[in-house]
Amino acid sequence: MRSHAHAAVCGLIVMSGAAMADQDDVILEVTGKIADGPATLDRAALQTLPSVTINTSTVVTDGVHAFSGVLMRDLLDSLNAQGDQVMAIALNEYAVGIPMSDFYDYDVIVASTMDGKALTRDGKGPLWIVYPRDDHEALQDIRYDYRWVWQLCRLDVR
């Protein structure tokens, strides 16, 4: 199934006719109370921030997985975000408000790979908000579980 998804992505890339499309495509848009907003970020822009890996289980998968990406607070700091809440919006228009304090209380990341493989749009990609669930008992709660937004495409700082 996953291999099919990859095939689909590859097909999409070939069809767009750009060899490095996956590096240059905008994968995250940040709007709201930031310094020079709205900002659009591609993979290369995200890779300028320090990479962080979290090993944790999730409520929708079995076992423990290694998620790599950038810390949400690093990302927001780099954009000089000033709000109390961040609205995370997925490709299917799923939207959830996350308090800014979460990112400073916990090492919440915007993961782009799981177990070393890039997250894709026909899976949970391209970006997945991952909490260090196994490290904090407080995070093993349904009220945190709905903040794990996959297929993330936009952040609105409010």
Binding site: M1, A8, G11, M15, V60, T61, L91, D122, G123
Partner: protein
């Protein structure tokens, strides 16, 4: 009473047991509920199916819009990826298991396979593919709609069941809590009662302790207590007064260091005995303490101090019995004085009795004396008077005078003898003493010899006088004469017939000696020792007249005048010596 006490013990124990069991049970139940809540609250499959259904519908709608030319190819690819992500999610572990549980496993596999056939149509979409693609997507909304329905029912069933389990568990917990409350109530009541009882007991104990303390401190008896190491732990005022040390000085110290009195063997042994569990007592032990010249006399009582059979120390009661000791001393003194008085009285009585006896003896002897001593002058007088009668008219005046004079001399001697004997008897009875004066022993000797010659004319008597002026002695002349007459009469009786008696007077610086010697067999040694005893008659006296009183009288009379009569050792006869002092002072 005992049943009540055991109830008081059993009830709280049972309550504690019930309390612990119910609490453990409740805790286990609570943990179970907590765990169940945490795990089960994470599932929300209805939402997953709904989102998947929405993705399928949006994809179908996008297909129609693309056919109409109102949407782009990218929108189609986006919604296809979103639907693929949803199906992928449903195929992940937890979601897949739930799908199979509600019986949609095969349907999901079919949808997954359908995605593979749909993918090429999306990539190379042309408006002609529209109807085929929509019909290929039709099963998605149908399956996902039914799955959502089934999911809702399954989740509500599970939720209802879980609530029922929670309710049961909570119900059990409520019952447990009621049990815990009851047990806690019992425990609380027991505790309150125990506390009240304890307070009452403490109060009583404190009162008793205060009372004991008051008794100890106000006791006239000295009281001290020691611990097992014989260190002083209690020392009351009376003890301080007796020993002369205050409680502060002695508490915590060993008794042997406190005062020497506690180190004397009987006290030390008593204390050691009490520490070994033996009670004992000592009476009237002298207690010297600093600053007192005379000792107190104290009675001591030692007791072990026990608690539950274990010896904790010893206690010593010390009672000042000096008064009793003084009374005993006085009693003893009184008794001694009484005994002394009695013995003195007894001595007086004995002496009186002895005097009475000796008086009686003398009176008794007096008869013997009469027969023995008085016969001689009576015989002289009788013989002179018989001759005179026989001569009758033939006797001339000179002869009459001479014979009558001889009779009178004998009678005068007899009179003297009677006087002297009476005096001696009185003296012997302790009534009078000798009438001692300075007199010439030569004269006395001549008188005695003359009387002896008158009594026994056949016996020759040779005298040897002391030099003139050298014969003065201090004595009673009558007694001295009587002594010599006794010795002469004795010598005459026991002398060999036809032999001569020798009377020799001589002396030294202090005494005069008058030796009366007669020729005879020596006196056997067995008789010598008893020779001077009253009424003793020697073994050679058989057939010789006598009472055995002569030598006794001679010695008694001589000693009365600080003189003596002794038997001298002699080879050719028997010699008695009379000794009389020259001067007033007795010889020493």
């Amino acid at each position: 009473m005992r049943r009540r006490r055991s109830l008081w013990l059993i009830l709280p124990l049972a309550a504690v047991l019930v309390f612990a069991v119910l609490l453990s049970f409740s805790l286990v139940r609570m943990f179970a509920v907590q765990n169940a809540m945490r795990v089960d609250a994470e599932k929300n499959m209805l939402w997953v199916f709904h989102q998947s259904d929405v993705a399928a519908l949006r994809l179908t709608k996008t297909v129609a819009l693309v056919e109409l030319g109102e949407a782009a190819q990218d929108d189609l690819a986006l919604w296809f990826d979103i639907l693929s992500g949803r199906i992928s999610l449903l195929n992940d572990g937890p979601q897949r298991r739930f799908v199979e549980k509600i019986g949609f496993g095969d349907d999901l596999d079919r949808l997954t396979d359908a995605l593979v056939t749909i993918a090429p149509m999306i990539d190379g979409f042309t408006p002609e593919d529209g109807p085929r693609l929509r019909s290929a997507l039709a099963p998605f909304t149908a399956v996902l709609g039914r799955a959502a329905n089934a999911s809702m029912i399954a989740e509500w069933d599970e939720f209802g069941g879980r609530l029922e389990v929670y309710r049961k568990q909570l119900h059990q917990n409520i019952l447990s809590l009621i049990g815990i409350m009851v047990a806690g109530g019992i425990l609380t009541v027991t505790l309150v009662l125990a506390l009240r009882q304890s307070r009452v007991r403490n109060h009583m104990l404190r009162r008793e302790r205060d009372f004991s303390g008051l008794l100890i401190s106000s006791s006239g008896e000295g009281i001290l207590a020691v611990d097992r190491a014989a260190r002083c732990s209690l020392w009351n005022d009376a003890m301080a007064g007796m020993v002369g040390k205050t409680a502060e000085q002695v508490e915590g110290r060993r008794l042997s260091d406190v005062a020497g009195f506690f180190d004397i063997p009987p006290v030390r042994d008593g204390m050691a005995g009490a520490l070994a569990g033996e009670s004992s007592r000592l009476t009237l032990q002298p207690l010297f303490s600093g600053g007192r010249g005379t000792p107190l006399h104290v009675d001591l009582r030692f007791f072990p101090m026990r608690n539950d059979g274990v010896i904790l120390g010893a206690i010593l009661f010390m009672h000042d019995a000096s008064d009793r000791h003084a009374a005993q001393q006085k009693d003893a003194e009184d008794r001694d004085r009484l005994e002394e008085l009695v013995s003195e009285r007894t001595r007086d009585l004995d002496s009186a009795l002895r005097r009475e006896r000796s008086a009686a003896d003398l009176y008794h002897d007096f008869a013997a004396m009469v027969s023995h001593q008085f016969r001689t002058p009576l015989a002289v007088a009788d013989s002179a008077l018989q001759r005179l009668i026989r001569r009758g008219p033939r006797a001339d005046a000179r002869e009459m005078a001479e014979r009558a004079g001889r009779a009178r001399t004998a009678i005068a001697g007899l009179t003297r003898l009677v006087d002297s004997t009476l005096d001696a008897a009185r003296l012997d009875a302790g009534q009078i003493g000798a009438h001692r004066e300075e007199c010439d022993l030569n004269e006395i000797m001549q008188i005695a010899c003359k009387h002896q010659r008158d009594a026994a004319p056949d016996r020759r008597i040779e005298t040897r006088q002391a030099p003139p002026g050298q014969a003065t002695v201090f004595c009673d002349p009558a007694l001295a004469e009587q002594i010599l007459e006794n010795l002469l009469s004795n010598a005459d009786k026991y002398a060999v017939p036809e032999t001569t008696l020798f009377v020799t007077l001589h002396g030294d610086g202090e005494s005069l000696f008058c030796d009366v010697h007669n020729t005879a067999n020596p006196i056997p040694s067995k008789d010598r020792a008893r020779l001077f005893e009253r009424n003793h008659r020697g073994s050679n006296s058989v057939g010789v007249a006598g009472t055995g009183i002569g030598l006794f009288m001679a010695r008694t009379l001589a000693r009365m005048q600080d003189g003596d009569v002794i038997l001298l050792s002699d080879d050719d006869g028997v010699t008695f010596r009379m000794t009389l002092p020259r001067g007033r002072e007795p010889q020493t």
